[in-house]
Structure formats: structure tokens, C-alpha cells
Amino acid sequence: MPVVELDGVDFGYLQGQRVLSGVDLRVGEGEFVAIAGPNGGGKTTLLRLALGLERPTRGRALLFDEPAHRSSKRACIGYLAQRSQIRLHAPATVRDVVEAGRAPLRLLGRLSREDRRAVDEAIERVGLSHLATRPMRRLSGGQQQRAFIAKALASRPRLLVLDEPTTGVDVEAQEALGDLLRRLHEDLGVTILYVSHEFGAVEAFVERLVLVRERIVFDGPPSELPGMWHDPSHAHA
């Protein structure tokens, strides 16, 4: 059963506008897929369609074999939003943030022993156990990003989705992030969708690269990527 399936999808935010057209994409269980392309090329829109946050104007989007916009398996998704969408006005600690990742499994009441175990495990996986009670504001950009990945892992997801995870993170932290994702993929067998305008951090071990520019212009292993597209932020038609 594919985790994500887009069949002949067209989409525009306004009538007559075409952000994506004729998109076909199947992502199977356990795959590590990087979705790249230039800014404005439609990769974030493709992600929103795959997650059911937008509905195709033509074609169909399935998530875990159900129409994506009314999928009953949303709690199986760990999602790392773009940093600009995460609000850290209050001094949340790493543990506060990761605990929020358990809410989709049980909305009401206090944290159970199982919740606490999952939170501890997720924090440990990203190597932040020693910083669990530290306010997020006092962490580096790379450490904050690892805390948000721990939040995404706290629900023990089958699908991990990362939207522009390297934005605002220095090169060293990008490499650490890539290493972390490789380990998570190997250890947990989780399906990973990695959306970015560049994929340098995961290029060495990602199995499949999808380049988006209104339509899918390349879909295969990075080693087969034509030279002219090697910098996908400037993908040519």
C-alpha cells in the first residue's frame, strides 16, 4: 500500500491559475524521498496536497489509501513545519515542545506513563536528553530543529514529513540533521518526505529525488540526475 499517492493532479490557488499540473507520484512504505525544486515551483503545494491540506482541482490525492483530505490515519504523520510557522513567544522547553507531539494520540487529560516514555525516547533519539528542560530560545538553530524533529517523532509516526528543514540552519547543523535523518530511516524504517529547495544535506543517502517545477521533471535516484539540474533551485524546464 502506498503511503502517498497523487494521480493526475492539477492544482491552482486561484481560478485559472496552475501551480501544479499532471502530477503523478507514489511513495511506498519505508522510502526516503527528497522533493526539491526552485522557489515557486510547487513543491510545498505538492506536499500540502499529499497531506490533504489542499484538494486537487483535478485528479486524486490519497494518504494511506484514503482520500488525503479526510484521512483517518493522520496521527501516523510526524510533521516538521517551516520554522516561520512555529510560535515560540512563551518560553517553551524542549520537553514542552515534544510533549505537544503526543496530543494527536490523546487530546484530553494528563500525560500517561506511555506518553512520557515516548517523549523521553524521542528526545533521546535526537540527542537532546541533556537539554530537555532548557527553554528553546536558549538553543541554537540546529538544536531547535532537532527538538522539532523529536516532536514529530513523539507520536511514533509511520510517515515523517519535513518542510524546508534546513532554512536558517548553518552548514554544520545541516550535516548533523542529515545524519540524524539517515539514522532514523535505518533504525525505525519510517517513510520520510523531505521537502527543500536544496537537498545537499541528504544527497549522499536519499534513495529517490523528485524535482518539481509545475510538473515532476525528474523522479529517480540522485546519481541519475542530469548535470544541468544538479542545483535544483535553478531547475530548467
Binding site: L51, I77, A81, I86, R87, T93, A103, L107, G109
Partner: protein, 266 residues
């Protein structure tokens, strides 16, 4: 001071408001909707005026108007028909204009109206206190029950939506709680100043807190302290309670900012 029944009633109502307003305010500040209380307060003003015009208790018409205003703001914001601040502005200006027209039509520009706008320690009756206590406790209980979901949405709304949390419903609950807080607080703080008691204690707490829960705890302590100290000052200095409570909260914010600055100073 506490020998006087009206002061005991005012302190009882002040204690409920001092705890409830910052607790609800935490989720407004975190969602960058600090001014929603102001918008709802101005709609409640139209509700007070409608109460005068229709000969119904202004408390209930104000509460009804506040709930309606909160629903409209959240509806506009959630459907992204307008940006959050524009949704607020539309409701804000409509509320104040409607209030002025209705008050004028009812011929009610008098001292009673000012008690609703800026609060009064003389106006809380036993039945008012009973209503304030019941509504306030229900609101706090609802927050405790939904705390995990409210935290998750206030931190990362998009992530919560992807993971299947009922984001629209939880946002609606926060808007309704803000309206309820305005309704509950109008006797003591006044509908034009209650928004400040939702925001200032939370912003003060953010300066010195170390986690989400400590932020709420410190904000509640600051809100309660501001309400009780403000009422005391109001009694001895013969000042309107709304203004003294809010100025006390401003003082606590300045103290918290100073403490924060001293802590991070090299």
C-alpha cells in the same frame, strides 16, 4: 475594608477574574491575537447599549454580543477571508460605532454606563458573584481538560492540523473563552480594560518564566495580585477599579522586564 459586604463581593469577583483573564490570555498572546479581547470588549459595549435600549440586563446582552463578536472574528480569521488584524479591526470599529449609536438612542450616556466601561467596586451583587464564579470555574475546567490540545495548536497550528487535531474547534473554544472572560469581568475591570488584564500578566510572565506551565503559573499569580491590589488601591484612593488593576499589572510587567534585564546582563 473587608467588613463591607460590597468589598467582599468585589474581592470574590476580582479573584475569579484575576485567575481567568491571564489563563485565557496565555493562548491569545501565544497565537499573536493579543488584541482580540479589545475587539470583543468593544462589541460587548454595543451589547451593553442594546441592553439599555431593550430594557434587558446589560450583563446578559453584553455577554451575548461578546460571544457573537468572538465567533465572527474567529470565522473571518479561520477562513482567511481577511488577515487576523483586519478581522479584529472590522469587529472592533463596528462594535464601538454600534455601541455609540445604541447608547445615544437609549439616552443612556450616564454614570451607570461608565461602570460597565471602566468597572466599579460598588456594582457586584451576590447573584453577580454567583454567576461570575460558576462561569469562571467552568471556563477554567474546560482549559484544564483541553490543555494538551490547546498547547499543541498554540505552538504549531499547521502541524496540529496535519496530525488531525480539531484545530478549528479548539480555536473556536479559545475565542469563546475570551468572550466569556470579557462578560465575566465587566463588573470589576470594565469592558474597555479587561483585554489588558488578559495580556499584561502573560507578557510579564514571559519575561521571567522558564517553561509553558511556569508562564501560566506566573501569569495567574500576576493577574490575581493585580486584581486584589488594584481593588485595595481603588477602595482607599477612591479610584475606578479597572484603571488601578490594569496599572498595577503594568507595574508588574515593568518589574518583570527589569528582573529579566538584570538576569541576562553580562
Amino acid at each position: 475594608m473587608l467588613d463591607l459586604e460590597f468589598m467582599r463581593l468585589a474581592f470574590g469577583a476580582g479573584a475569579v477574574v484575576g485567575v481567568l483573564a491571564p489563563t485565557v490570555g496565555f493562548f491569545l498572546v501565544q497565537r499573536e491575537m493579543s488584541l482580540i479581547g479589545d475587539g470583543i470588549g468593544h462589541v460587548a459595549f454595543a451589547g451593553v447599549a442594546a441592553g439599555y435600549l431593550l430594557g434587558i440586563s446589560p450583563v446578559w446582552t453584553a455577554l451575548g454580543a461578546a460571544l457573537l463578536g468572538a465567533a465572527v472574528i474567529e470565522w473571518l480569521r479561520a477562513r482567511r477571508r481577511t488577515a487576523g488584524d483586519q478581522a479584529l479591526a472590522i469587529v472592533f470599529y463596528t462594535g464601538i460605532a454600534g455601541g455609540v449609536v445604541l447608547v445615544s438612542a437609549a439616552g443612556a450616556l450616564n454614570a451607570n454606563l461608565f461602570a460597565y466601561l471602566f468597572g466599579s467596586i460598588l456594582t457586584v451583587s451576590r447573584s453577580d458573584l454567583a454567576v461570575i464564579a460558576v462561569l469562571g470555574l467552568c471556563a477554567l475546567l474546560l482549559i484544564v481538560v483541553l490543555l494538551r490540545g490547546l498547547f499543541a495548536v498554540s505552538l504549531d497550528e499547521e502541524g496540529a492540523r496535519v496530525a488531525g487535531l480539531p484545530v478549528a474547534w479548539l480555536n473556536g473554544v479559545v475565542a469563546m473563552l475570551a468572550a466569556l472572560t470579557v462578560g465575566v469581568s465587566m463588573r470589576i475591570v470594565g469592558i474597555l480594560l479587561i483585554a489588558a488584564l488578559m495580556v499584561l500578566p502573560v507578557v510579564a510572565a514571559q519575561r521571567v518564566a522558564w517553561s509553558l506551565r511556569s508562564t501560566i503559573g506566573i501569569a495567574v499569580a500576576a493577574g490575581l495580585g493585580s486584581a486584589l491590589a488594584g481593588l485595595t488601591i481603588s477602595y482607599y484612593a477612591d479610584l475606578p477599579p479597572g484603571g488601578t488593576i490594569v496599572l498595577t499589572a503594568t507595574g508588574l510587567y515593568l518589574v518583570a522586564s527589569l528582573a529579566s534585564w538584570l538576569r541576562v546582563r553580562p
